[in-house]
Amino acid sequence: MEQKTKVSAQDGKQELVITREFDLPLELLFQAYIDPEIVEQWMGTKVLTLESKRHGSYQFETTDPKGNKHRFNGVIHDCVVNKKITRTFEMENTPFPVQLEFLEFEKLTDDTSKLTMQIVYKSVADRDQMLKLPFAQGINMAHNRIQEIVSKLK
């Protein structure tokens, strides 16, 4: 089965590329990234700041199941409507270095669009660490779930 979301992480490179094709017109896809209310809905975060413009900034806040708050923020280096967003991303109060994100929005047809997200990390080790985060959490939360995911893949 063709996967809608793809992650490409080449060995030894300090970047990864996430691509996704959406069953949405380009304008709606782009709006999902710049409208604070919509961002809150799909990201499941509180949007404290979101200035979608050149030299703007953003700050989001999530609350985990234990009630702890986690904030992340960044600077929006560039924002071209229906085309691209270039921004940094940083998790506050963690040792993870800031990362650079290039988001490119493309029209495929009138009703479909594509997002390409290139994320550049400070080092190869930092990238691998970020990739492992959900993996490690998965193991901690439920080892069986990992087994299930693994067994589904062939």
Partner: protein, 107 residues
């Protein structure tokens, strides 16, 4: 303190990766594995022990000899460690899609 082995640390070492490659072809005794390396028998033994603790290798007793096999299930888990990361983004994007579809129909 409980010592917890990280599978990713285990495979970060070139000698241990070479051991995995050897055992992938056929089950081997520690002596047979060590013969492929210039390092001391003790050093190789230590590497095997780490791989065994991480469940990358499985021991099997055949007569007086211990043979090491590769544990394919564990190898697959490592190969697929990107999957949870992909799944996380996939879930997020699915949400985005459904939120925007509702938004569109409301307009």
């Amino acid at each position: 303190m409980e010592l917890r082995r990280d599978v990713f640390q285990a495979i970060a070492d070139p000698t241990r990766r070479a051991i995995i490659a050897l055992v992938a072809i056929q089950a081997m005794t520690p002596t047979a594995i060590a013969e492929n390396f210039d390092s001391s028998r003790q050093t190789i033994s230590k590497h095997i022990q780490i791989l065994n603790e991480c469940e990358l290798l499985r021991q099997e007793q055949t007569g007086r000899e211990i043979y090491y096999h590769l544990n394919p299930q564990k190898i697959k888990e490592i190969a697929d460690f990107i999957e949870p990361f992909r799944k996380m983004w996939d879930d997020r994007f699915n949400k985005l899609e459904s939120v925007m579809k509702k938004y569109k129909s409301k307009k």
